[in-house]
Symmetry: C2
Subunit: 196 residues, 2 copies
Amino acid sequence: MPMIDPSALRQLFDEARTHNAWRDQPVPEHLLRQLYDLMKWGPTSANCSPARIVFVQSPAAKAKLAPCMSEGNRDKTLKAPVTALIGMDMAFYERLPELFPHNPDARNWFAGKPEVIAATAMRNSSLQGGYFILAARALGLDCGPMSGFDADAVNAAFFAGTEVKVNFLCNLGYGDPAGLFARSPRLSFEQACRIA
Amino acid sequence: MPMIDPSALRQLFDEARTHNAWRDQPVPEHLLRQLYDLMKWGPTSANCSPARIVFVQSPAAKAKLAPCMSEGNRDKTLKAPVTALIGMDMAFYERLPELFPHNPDARNWFAGKPEVIAATAMRNSSLQGGYFILAARALGLDCGPMSGFDADAVNAAFFAGTEVKVNFLCNLGYGDPAGLFARSPRLSFEQACRIA
């Protein structure tokens, strides 16, 4: 396989930014579906695919979300065309007979083991969160991922009666560059990596 | 921004597969550096960037890794040109004065709070793992991510004397399609998502 086009690399990585201000341009539903239909292909351990997503878009749902947000994230979240709640299904292993047909025993790697369940759900729903962000950017959307919110309140407002717990949130839309912060530095290869 | 080229979408998502068999073709060091220099731009909360990576490549380092692998992952890991150990620095917050200059207080959001540290390190190093996998694919590499290994043994063999703990492993190289399993299904949009 060749390298993908340099302009696509820049769109996905080098030049993409976390957005805080949003243009008044809606995100059509077909793009949300296309976004999921890309990210779903990213690998997870035993194909466990724990991520569950609520795309918060209606004024009523935004009003339910507002009191869950930290002060610094509330206003931009209300203004974003869509806020995706990236959750993780803590009962993900019940789907393994369907999702991992290679090994009919896979459910038993997790059932009754709360620590393995918690680590697997968090690791893999976060991996899927990475796929989500890059799939959104690949489709021409801008992202504003956030960890500053009251998780218990989000769970009560959007995931009551399910085994899903929120992991992180991500505003989606078309960013207004006027709202960008100065770009923060990154660790160098030598600071973060070594070859052994 | 436009959508990236459909062939790039396929290379990153739809047609990419988790590889188990590897062609005898080395991965040059400049590609490993380019891979890091792409993935490092992916967003993390407060730019905390906890991922730390060891690219295991030499016969000596592979020999150290072999006994840490689960039976089913050992042989393919020995045959992969490179095995990346994706770790997370549990002291990531010590870098925040440099990485998050917006707020000089950011270190104190974490210092002395082991549960917040653990959740933030796992969530964000896994997000970065997602960026890693897609950056590798964007560069024309194939990936074989794995959770089947003895984490304590990997930590002792490769991260002794540091605050880094392994998160997951990922073989890298040029995959041999003969080693692919049949593709497992994914949850539909309706099974995994809703619009509110």
